[in-house]
């Protein structure tokens, strides 16, 4: 049972204000992912929870206990590092036993716990080896094993998969998910990889420039991004953005630029109303664009010129020119399209996003 509560957390290094007023409530057994580009403060936040960085201001609580000034060893946490941080001079067994020995567990208890963790992770035949005799994936497992033997209240992960190759990363991601389901320990996971964030997190925290941009379940963030940054950060290929001018005509709200003229769906109209005469950013995900058929209403379509065709098998990515801008559309693999073709795309009106030009917040 452990919930982690972060209140108005700030971190200043000499010149840099790395973490700005972060507030988070992490529930018991929850898997929370902090995601963002490098330098966004996610790792610093994690390190403050771990006790490896001092806290400039704010409070961190684990189960109603303020841990601001506790040394790392007294916080009952375990951390997995990006470079695994296995002790090179110790065997796998000793690596996993180290934390227990430091805490004066008795011999039999240590042996039992290490065996148990080794079996969960499938590394019991590696226990006598030294870290340098292990592959990347095996080292990662040992690092996980070292974290789970102590049955800590909170797991902290600092980009644990980013040193693995692509295939292994997917595999370990699945295993991490299973491991969390099995152990049910509260986990905070830092990554810059949005796919990891979306697949692993019960909730995802998107950070940028030290600020929390949005907190929510993965699909919530994907479908209802709070601002342009979150919209562009999550999803691959990322969301298309276009600057459009809002106008009102015959009771309908229109968004138009040099290459397109779109009638905003009624549910957006109310919110867009106060932007009439101004420019806003329109966002549409590649999969919400399709090649227009006669059934599509003309006010949701626009003409484009195909510039690049990327055939991925399950879908085709079309890089298209819309006026002077470019967009990416993910279309059915059966579509026949060639470079320089003029085609008409239609968009899904329910999946349109609008963002304020200044604040970049969703409208």
């Amino acid at each position: 049972m452990a919930q982690v509560i972060i209140r108005s957390l700030n971190k200043r290094f000499d010149e840099v204000h790395a973490v700005k007023d972060v507030n988070l409530d992490i529930r018991d057994k929850e898997f929370v992912v902090l995601v963002g580009p490098s330098g966004c403060g996610k790792t610093t936040t994690l390190r403050m929870v771990a006790g490896l960085e001092s806290i400039t201001s704010g409070r961190i609580l684990i189960d109603d206990r303020v841990i601001n000034n506790l040394p790392p060893m007294d916080r009952d946490i375990a951390m997995v590092f990006q470079n695994y941080a296995l002790y090179p001079h110790m065997s796998v067994y000793d690596n996993m036993a180290f934390g227990l020995r430091m805490r004066k567990f008795d011999r039999d208890d240590i042996a039992r716990r290490v065996q148990e963790a080794a079996e969960i992770l499938g590394i019991h035949e590696l226990l006598r080896r030294k870290p340098r005799q292990l592959s990347g994936g095996q080292r990662q497992r040992v690092a996980l094993g070292r974290a789970i033997v102590r049955h800590p209240q909170v797991f902290l992960f600092d980009e644990p998969l980013s040193n693995l190759d692509a295939k292994l990363r997917v595999q370990m991601r699945v295993e991490l998910k299973k491991l969390h389901d099995r152990l049910g320990t509260t986990a905070i996971y830092v990554t810059h990889d949005q796919v990891e964030a979306m697949t692993l997190g019960d909730r995802v925290v998107v950070m940028k420039d030290g600020f929390v941009q949005q907190v929510g379940e993965p699909l919530e963030l994907y479908n209802e991004p709070a601002n342009r940054f979150v919209a562009g950060f999550l999803g691959s290929p990322s969301m298309n953005f276009a600057t459009v001018k809002v106008s009102q005509d015959n009771g309908a709200i229109w968004a138009a630029n040099a290459g397109m003229q779109i009638k905003a769906p009624p549910e957006c109209s109310a919110r867009l109303g106060r932007y009439v005469g101004q420019e806003v950013t329109l966002g549409i995900r590649p999969e919400d664009l399709h090649v227009a058929s006669p059934a599509d209403p003309p006010e949701l379509g626009f003409d484009v010129v195909v510039e690049v065709v990327e055939r991925l098998g399950s879908e085709i990515l079309l890089d298209v020119a819309v006026g002077s801008a470019t967009m990416v559309a993910s279309v059915e693999p059966s579509i026949r399209a060639n470079i320089h073709d003029r085609i008409r795309l239609a968009l899904n009106p329910e999946r349109l996003h609008f963002f304020d030009m200044q604040s970049e917040a969703a409208i």
């Binding site: 040394p71 790392p72 375990a78 941080a85 001079h89 430091m102 102590r150």
Partner: protein, 283 residues
Amino acid sequence: MIEGASWRRWVFFYIPLTAFIVALLFPFYWMLVTTVRPDGELYRPWNAPNYTPFWTMHPTLEHIKDLLTETLFGTWMFNTMVISIAATAISLFCGLLAGYALSRLKFPFAGSLGTMIFITYLVPQTLLFIPLADIIRNFRLGDSPWALILTYPTFLIPFCTWLMMGYFKSIPKELEECARIDGATRWRAMVYIIFPIAVPGILSAGIFAFTLSWNEFIYALVFLSSPDQKTVPVGVTSELVRGDVFYWGELMAGALLGSIPVAFVYSFFVEHYVASLTGSVKG
């Protein structure tokens, strides 16, 4: 390795390597030949018909015997050994802790303090021995091993500190952070995790410190005066050069025997030593 035709390998690899080895080992060979050469050959003029500078037909152990029986060479060896080991131990202990602190702890002026320590190492001994001699006299340590055991660390500690600082910086700090999360205090993380990993660095600092104190000349010359207190470098040069007479055979025998402990220490730890200079911990 150099790829390509065999002549290239000869020109760029074997011949330079041979030249290098010959140049490096020749002084030792010269020492050995001079040691075993009988006096009659040693003082033969260069234009004598049977002059053979590079080898001898009548090797003798006479000079070694003289050195061991007629001089206090055994005592000098013992003195040098005691002084070197003690000075190395003190310097290594201080250097380890100082190097760790300077590379890992965050405190004001940590960076400039490291540089300042290094600068003290650069102050020449020829400048320092005069004030140090005054201090030695004030503490009445002159002509005793303590004079050297306590002054050698003045240049060995900066040296060890600097070397260990560099080595500690090459050890990922995550190892220590992980240990501290695992339940170790900073002290225990240092002792159980960082020091064992730093063994190659500690060994090379130790070897260097030992060699420097073994070969040290000027402090030993100034601070020690009785023959039975002297170290090998000073003893050999002061007792075997009398006026303008050089006892070449005994001198070279002393140099040869005096370099054996250092050579032994080097060869014993050479693998660790090379490892510490060429690379460190891989993740």
